[in-house]
């Protein structure tokens, strides 16, 4: 078991190293170097620069060093927490990312707090009796909510709950203390899609377990239905959904962008999007690296959870 985990860890480090190399190489072109010059000296200052002055500026910034040397110093700085400077926001990238991650973390916390119990309960109830009316109702609802893109959900929720009924604010800037009215719509938007998805997966796992031989044996032995479900079925049926829940962190990082942009929530996703549009290269690099680290860690956690929960792997030597 420890062997499996060590192997996954080594793989993870290798993947992060190559992802960072790729990320550094993408932004290491003449076009992006000019963009940095424009951002630092201003458009007018960069345009007034003669070719010689431009070369001198590049030498001063250390941009003429060999690729490997620059990559290593960039990666070293990243490891030490020095992520560069944001030209657009005029602040250290590390502090900026920390504050934005805090805002997004609040969103993610309430999202997971609601998503996990709701979707596991719905999935188990639906999967307990395959084909019953309650299973059909939950399945149809789950397909429908996973088919509405986040952007459409955000629109419909804003129109009805905010513009129509006036319960929540239509935009949530998340500047200052975060209130319930601000959080409600972004969290709901994320929930509506993802609860459907996790419910479907939980239901599939539950259906598979309920049709297995050992459950039939338990039922035929005359055990009460509650015991069969709580003691026998759930322990095996929840292995896959639990590992899936860790992977939702990865999913969240991707889908948070559009939700934050739509609601103008000052979080991590919106920061990355704005930096990409503005050409704030150091922010894009640092934020993408953070996202990759979180994504890879969530995959690792999911794998470890699977190894720990699955008795076949846990006991295997």
């Amino acid at each position: 078991m420890a062997d499996l985990i060590w192997r996954r860890l080594a793989q993870m480090v290798l993947i992060m190293a190559s992802a960072s190399l790729l990320l550094f190489a993408i932004f290491d072109t003449e076009q992006f170097r000019k963009q940095i010059a424009v951002a630092e000296l201003g458009g007018f200052g960069a345009a007034a620069l003669s070719e010689g002055d431009y070369q001198a500026w590049i030498a001063k910034k250390g941009l003429d060093a060999p690729f490997v040397e620059r990559y290593l110093s960039w990666a070293g700085n990243m490891l030490q927490g020095d992520m560069g400077f944001s030209m657009e926001k005029n602040t250290e990238v590390a502090g900026l990312i920390a504050s934005r991650l805090h805002a997004t973390g609040t969103l993610a916390f309430y999202f997971f707090l609601l998503m996990v119990p709701i979707s596991l309960t719905l999935g188990v109830i639906a999967g307990m009796r395959e084909g019953s009316w309650i299973d059909r109702a939950i399945s149809i609802a789950a397909v429908t909510t996973t088919s509405i893109p986040q952007i459409a959900t955000a629109v419909l929720l804003t129109v009805f709950l905010s513009l129509g009924l006036g319960w929540f604010s239509a935009k949530s800037s998340a500047i200052g203390p975060i209130t319930f009215a601000e959080l409600a719509l972004p969290v709901l938007t994320l929930l509506i899609y993802d609860v459907g998805y996790v419910t479907r997966m939980t239901r599939a796992a539950m259906v598979e377990v309920m049709s297995s031989h050992y459950i039939r044996t338990a039922v035929l032995k005359g055990l009460p239905r509650a015991t069969v479900i709580w003691r026998h079925a759930l322990r095996n049926a929840l292995i896959v959904p639990v590992t899936l829940i860790f992977l939702q962190l990865n999913w969240l990082l991707s889908h948070i962008v559009v939700v934050e942009v739509f609601f103008q929530y000052s979080g991590f996703g919106r920061m990355l999007y704005e930096a990409a549009i503005y050409g704030d290269i150091e922010v894009v690099q640092a934020a993408t690296m953070v996202a990759v680290i979180v994504a890879v860690l969530s995959q690792l956690l999911s794998d470890i959870a699977y190894i720990l929960l699955n008795p076949r792997l846990r006991v295997a030597r």
Binding site: Q11, L14, I15, M16, S18, A19, L22, I26, V143, T144, T146, S147, I148, P149, Q150, I151, A152, V155, L156, T158, V159, L163, G164, A170, N250, W251, L253, S254, H255, V257, V258, V261, F262, G269, L272, Y273, A276, I277, V284, T288, A291, V292, A295, V296, Q299
Partner: protein, 343 residues
């Protein structure tokens, strides 16, 4: 007394084409519809007079595909509903130039509510903040989302399936290297990868195809790899190897058609994802560019300038349009999966 024996049929030139399978006919017709639609949308300027009549033959083709699919999958209600939703939008896309609609890009009268009549023109779904007819923009918008969505998914499938076949069938170092590359790309969250690629390449429909291929191909590769590894040990592949068939022939002609079942289901799901991605990217201003009508663009424009209860119809209409298309793809995938489990 003996009646003459019926004359023996001459051997078929292409065996199997005398009575082609319905699936083959459907795929050929769909390829025809897709070719005419994408020519119409992607290179409108080079066609001259033909541009006007290009889509007319596609309309009966769409109807024929719909009828064939309904007959093939009539056993699953879910699949029938899904097929109908998707094919209706494809029909609208093909028929849009011949419907009595207002010009989708011409400003007429801004902020008209639905069902108003002005100067002899009825705006069934109202007009947007620049005075363009929303009904017309929604129907025309189906063209762009379908053309770019299907083309991008197709391209991702070509790349992903080929890499998956190489990794799964050849195995060894090919597998190690390709799987590592795939895992590396998959470690980037999808939307962030798309933003990076589009920011690097610039914003256009063709770059969307590249970006979607980058983000979807590794996942497709994983699925095809698993299927190819399973097929490698089967008897028919060993027979093909004994016959001395080439590696490429075995991968493309022997393995690929035999694993089509799970791939078709996955392709339907992925068409839905791609539609979501393109709409989202357009909403973020990274995808298709104005002024031509597109659902993501309609949401973007209305969400920034008409976010009021009174004008909510401007964003609700395109939201519902894109949701029905994606729901159609998902129901189709569900129905096909259900049918494959019944058999």
């Amino acid at each position: 007394m003996n009646s003459p024996l019926p004359a023996a049929l001459p051997p078929a030139v292409l065996p199997g084409w005398r009575r082609p399978e319905p699936l083959t006919v459907v795929l050929l017709l769909l390829a025809f519809v897709w070719l005419s639609l994408s020519t119409y949308v992607m290179v409108p300027d080079r066609l001259g007079v033909a541009h006007r009549w290009l889509l007319l033959p596609a309309i009966p083709a769409v109807i024929a595909v719909h009828v064939l699919l309904l007959r093939m999958f009539s056993r699953s209600t879910v699949a029938v509903v899904g097929i109908t939703m998707v094919m209706l939008w494809i029909l609208v896309a093909a028929a849009a130039p011949y419907l009595p609609l207002l010009d989708p890009n011409r400003p007429v009268a801004p902020y008209q509510m639905p069902f108003t009549t002005k100067n002899g023109m009825t705006f069934w779904l109202g007009t947007d903040m620049r005075g363009r007819d929303i009904l017309s923009r929604t129907l025309w918008g189906s063209q762009r989302v379908l053309v770019w969505g299907i083309t991008a998914t197709f391209s991702a499938y070509v790349v992903g399936a080929f890499l998956g076949l190489v990794a799964g069938y050849l195995g060894g170092w090919w597998d190690e290297a390709l799987s590592f590359l795939g895992n590396m790309v998959l470690s980037f969250p999808v939307m962030i990868l798309l933003i990076l690629v589009l920011n690097y390449l610039g914003q256009s429909g063709f770059n969307i195809i590249i970006a979607v291929t980058c983000s979807s191909a590794p996942a497709i590769m994983r699925i095809v790899r698993g299927l190819a590894m399973d097929a490698r040990g089967r008897d028919y592949i060993q027979a093909a190897q004994t016959r001395g068939e080439s590696v490429v022939w075995i991968m493309l002609i022997e393995i690929l058609p035999n694993v089509r079942g799970p791939l078709i289901v996955d392709a339907c799901l992925r068409l839905g994802y791609t539609t979501v991605m393109i709409t989202t990217l357009t909403f973020l201003g990274l995808g298709l560019q104005p002024p031509d009508p597109d659902w993501g663009l309609m949401i973007k424009e209305a969400a920034s300038s008409a976010l009021l209860w009174k004008f909510a119809y401007m964003i609700i209409v395109p939201s519902i349009a894109v949701s029905t298309l994606i729901l159609g793809f998902n129901l189709l995938a569900d129905g096909l999966r259900e049918l494959s489990q019944k058999d």
